[in-house]
């Protein structure tokens, strides 16, 4: 058949025939194709859900002691066994995820908010203050993180707020660096220069021109940083500098279980598995996010 409609249309001015797709739909499709990352994401979301509603769904109260059933091995009644007071370990793990998410998560978020702001400002303005800030962060990063955390927590005494602050302080320089390096490359892009030429205010340039372009990589960074903070919070809990008993905490549980390892290894193994599982799941998710946001090449 002859196609008269083609004759009349100037191709360059005709709308493109490709179907328009939402950016986020495309990201979701890409994520969906990566099976390990999807598994990771689901495990992460499971723990996150538990952190939200854990106490409501746990089979037992995490504080309920039952001397008759102390040191029970895993069974259908107690999926992960019981501890020396007869408390249900599975329930304690489920409820304990709230601590991990609250401490690690808010620490990471504070680090991101402050770090990204500092990174944006120092990267955008450059000059002397940028130089000072960058060096300051270098100093902070040169101290072994665990050592710094120990010194700080011992000085201010273990508390939830203190723990959050330590996590935030440790990761703040890293977030600032990541943001700064992205801003350094973005601020020389022509669309930012065009904004300057037409007389945009700095606030507009930051929020409308630069920040949207950093969102993908920042999401990847936050997710990765969270897995580190889980590790850090658990380690500090193990050393007794985190949450204090009787609150359930995975690190603390492992510490308490040490003495009972030869009689009741499940006391130690299951919290340890929970920690590994959450970290591995978060890392798999990060990997998926990276594939999703970086596969278009560079900062997009």
């Amino acid at each position: 058949m002859f196609h008269p409609e083609h004759e009349s249309v100037d191709v360059e001015t005709a709308p493109a025939l490709t179907k328009r797709k939402g950016r986020w739909l495309l990201y979701w499709r890409r994520m969906n194709r990566q099976i390990p990352s999807m598994i990771g994401t689901f495990i992460f979301l499971f723990f996150f859900l538990m952190a939200l509603i854990g106490p409501l769904v746990s089979p037992y109260d995490y504080r309920a002691q039952n001397i008759k059933e102390r040191l029970q091995p895993p069974s259908l009644r107690h999926l992960c066994g019981t501890d020396q007071y007869g408390r249900d370990i599975f329930s304690r793990i489920i409820v304990g995820s709230r601590n991990i998410f609250f401490l690690g998560g808010s620490g990471t978020l504070i680090a991101v908010l402050i770090g990204a702001t500092l990174g944006l400002l120092s990267g955008y303005y450059g000059g002397f203050s940028d130089e000072i800030l960058t060096r300051l962060f270098d100093v902070l990063l040169s101290i072994p993180p665990m050592l710094l955390a120990l010194v700080l927590l011992v000085t201010i005494g273990p508390s939830k707020l203190g723990l959050i602050m330590v996590v935030a302080l440790l990761y703040l320089p890293i977030e600032a660096r990541v943001m700064r390096s992205m801003v350094l490359s973005l601020k020389t892009r022509e669309f930012v220069e065009a904004a300057k030429i037409r007389g945009e205010k700095n606030l507009y340039i930051w929020f409308k021109e630069i920040l949207p372009n950093t969102m993908g990589p920042m999401l990847v960074e936050v997710s990765m940083r969270f897995s580190y903070s889980v590790f850090l919070v658990a380690s500090l809990g193990f050393l007794g500098l985190g949450v204090q008993p009787p609150s359930p905490d995975w690190g603390l549980q492992i510490n308490e279980a040490r003495g009972w390892f030869s009689i009741a290894p499940w006391m130690l193994i299951f919290p340890a598995i929970a920690i590994s599982l959450l970290i591995i799941a978060t890392n798999l998710m990060t990997d998926g996010l990276r594939q999703t946001f970086y596969s278009t090449g560079g900062i997009e």
Binding site: V11, E12, R29, E193, A194, I197, R198, E200, N213
Partner: protein, 696 residues
């Protein structure tokens, strides 16, 4: 029988090659039924615009396709043997041994941590089985053959210590060291300056004569292939449209695409006439929109019913010359029509320029970059890079000043200083007689509105997260000072946006598109619309066409000319392409190492007498039909570092017309030629004119 009239077997035979890529959005066919062969001692040029599949073909010949690419039909025969049935070890023998490859980016092709000589020797050792000592001496010998200055010392240097042109030369030496039967060159001169490109092209045609190597030359530049190839294949959207001997294709194109493409190549005329350029309306089909019939049909002036339904096969025009077009006999008609219209294309240029109002003036503009980071240098003397060293020029209202020069001459820095993105070290910028602040932050809104800029790279010109409509609306909103708010203004701005899209010949539907959905040329149109949104007096155009295909370049130039006529806007047009500059400029300034060496009315600058540098630039432009200048002038080496500027005349280190020690010691004076024309040279202007006339 081959092209030299002897009976020889082809070195390379590509038969009905089909290649497809698997992508996120589905499978698309990048190459469809492409067949050609290359004989010994022959150079075959594969020409095509971006997306035509030319690089894919090159990679498929050496079985180097990316993991998602697949040959799904046809065969590639090298010396009569199918490359796709060879074993791994046979292929190793082929790669770098019997087939040499030269890539577009020499920097990525060399290992940065091994000396050039060693990398060449390694190839010789592996493929020729010679000792290291022998290999090293062959490496030096090969470097000498590619006319490398001081080959012994170059062999001991690391790749980063060589300039781009020298790296490309070394890469050619590396590909040639095993005396391969086939040399594949993928855009070997695209990343180089015109002057360096000219030297490399000379080298390739020289090597062609000396060795028996067959060459497959891949490029987007028709003028380049016309100068160095024996036969040409024209690719479009993965299909071979036409192939034949160079003279057949150039003089007698038998495919409308080839014909139009030839028209699009900017013709360099020494008259310096401002003119519209030809272009092919439309753009190359998007990956999944390849038409059922002929792939060129949506843009073809000769298309009829047959073309939409069936894909034409290969038709023999004469010996060696094949086309895939149903209506090839009608191509001649296109030419006749074009001649009739030709007269209209030349624009009348205003004769009086002195009396015009001066819009922008720069006075002794300087930009030095200090080398030490904090401005302190405790040891040794203070060094600085002099990007701009005293530029004084002016732009008249409604006229175009073209700025030409090699990369590193300071063209872009000049534009950035004028627009306020880079703070000048010294000097003043005056707009309408009023001095402007040194940076955008120190200029008033009113002043900012008056000067806008269009950047070189359309890909990064637009924020990928902003819809086209919002980009333009924002500029309009700022231009209206945001004085009125409310729904009424919103509607008015939307109408204005549509009007602007129409002005740059984009459909109103583009309002809701993101930049990622647009082609390079369309993005550049949006960038132009954005620049015009504030109703500026001056638009700085920094190489706005250099990343676009030839067939699109013309339409953008024409758009710019129209917008200028409508709005009486002034342009400062920066480009390395003299032919393009000539078609749009009223005035031309030639820059070298942060300084102007010649400037004036474009008619006068592009005609003799020339500054020796301008002469070399003009001579380096590859042209399709005969050369503008009879004598070929090639510059030695590349532009010196702006850290160590030569004393006296800055150009004396490379000048082919250096007259003596005066060039090294004294800064040359400005000499006035006929009309509005100034040349900065020691050679008297009468003599410069005489040199040029003698050649004719």
């Amino acid at each position: 029988m081959d092209i030299h009239g002897e009976t020889l077997k082809p070195v390379l035979e590509v038969k009905n090659l089909n290649i497809s890529y698997e992508t996120e959005e589905g499978v698309f066919r990048a190459v469809q039924d492409v067949s050609f062969s290359i004989f010994p001692r022959e150079s075959y040029g594969l020409v095509g615009e971006s997306g035509s599949g030319k690089t894919t073909i090159a990679f498929s010949i050496v079985r180097y396709l990316p993991p998602n690419g697949r040959v799904c039909g046809g065969s590639v025969l090298f010396d009569g043997r199918d490359i796709y049935s060879m074993s791994r070890s046979e292929l190793r023998d082929l790669w770098g041994g019997k087939i040499g490859m030269v890539y577009q980016n020499p920097q990525a092709a060399f290992n940065p941590s091994i000396t050039v000589g060693k990398q060449l020797a390694e190839v010789a050792q592996f493929h020729l089985g010679v000792s290291l000592k022998e290999a090293m001496s062959r490496a030096v010998e090969m470097l000498r053959l590619v006319a490398m200055p001081d080959p012994e010392s170059v062999a001991k240097r690391y790749p980063y210590q060589l300039s781009g042109g020298m790296q490309q030369r070394a890469l050619i030496a590396m590909a040639m060291i095993t005396q391969p039967e086939l040399l594949i060159m993928d855009e070997p001169t695209t990343a180089l300056d015109v002057t360096t490109q000219a030297v490399i092209l000379d080298l390739i045609s020289d090597l062609k004569k000396r060795f028996n190597t067959a060459i497959l030359y891949i490029t987007h530049n028709l003028a380049v292939v016309a100068n160095i190839c024996d036969r040409i294949g024209v690719l479009y959207a993965g299909n071979l449209m036409e192939q034949g001997r160079v003279e057949q294709i150039i003089k007698n194109p038998a495919h409308p695409y080839t014909y139009k493409l030839l028209q699009c190549v900017p013709k360099f005329k020494l008259s310096g006439e401002k003119s519209y350029l030809s272009n092919i309306p439309g753009s190359i089909p998007k990956l999944f929109e390849i038409p059922e019939g002929c792939v060129f049909v949506p843009r073809c002036p000769l298309a009829d019913k047959r073309c939409w339904e069936n894909r034409p096969g290969h038709v023999k025009v004469e010996n060696w010359h094949y086309t895939s077009c149903f209506n090839w006999q009608k191509v001649e008609e296109l030419r006749r029509e074009e001649v009739k219209q030709g007269e209209k294309l030349i624009l009348k240029k205003s004769e009086t320029t002195d009396r015009e109002e001066i819009l922008l003036k720069t006075q002794n503009l300087k930009k030095y970059y200090s080398i030490s980071r904090y401005g302190l240098n405790l040891f040794g003397k203070k060094r600085s890079v002099k990007s701009l060293d005293g530029i004084t020029l002016w732009v008249n209202r409604g006229f175009t000043l073209g700025i030409v020069g090699e990369s590193g001459s300071g063209k872009t820095t000049l534009a950035r200083v004028i627009v306020g993105l880079t703070e000048p070290t010294d000097g003043r910028v005056l707009l309408n007689g009023k001095e402007l602040g040194p940076t955008t932050g120190e200029r008033s809104k009113e002043q900012l509105k008056k000067i806008q800029m269009v950047f070189q790279n359309p890909e990064t010109s637009l924020n990928p997260y902003h819809k086209i409509g919002n980009v333009l609306a924002r500029s309009l909103f700022l231009a209206s000072q945001g004085s009125v708010k409310g729904r009424k203004t919103k509607k008015r701005i939307r109408n204005d946006v549509v009007r602007m899209l129409r002005a740059v010949k984009l459909p109103p539907e583009y309002i809701d598109k993101l930049p990622g959905e647009l082609s390079g040329g369309e993005k550049q149109r949006v960038a132009i619309a954005r620049a015009f949104a504030t109703n500026p007096d001056l638009v700085l155009l920094d190489e706005p066409l250099s990343s676009l295909d030839v067939s699109v370049q013309g339409s953008l130039i024409n758009l710019l000319i129209d917008l200028q006529v409508q709005n009486r806007t002034s342009y400062m047009f920066i480009s390395h392409d003299l032919a393009v500059v000539q078609s749009i400029s009223d005035w031309v300034a030639v820059m070298y190492l942060g300084e102007m060496v010649e400037w004036g009315n474009s008619r006068d600058v592009l005609k003799p007498p020339y500054h020796p540098y301008t002469e070399a630039l003009i001579s380096a432009v590859p042209v399709i039909d005969g050369h503008g200048l009879k004598k070929i002038i090639r510059l030695k080496g590349s532009i010196p570092s702006a850290l160590e500027i030569p004393s006296g005349c800055r150009f004396h280190t490379r000048c082919p017309r250096k007259i003596g020690s005066i060039c090294e010691s004294e800064e040359p004076p400005w000499q006035k030629g006929d009309g509005d024309h100034w040349i900065k040279c020691h050679i008297p202007i009468e003599k410069l004119a005489y040199i040029e006339n003698q050649k004719e």
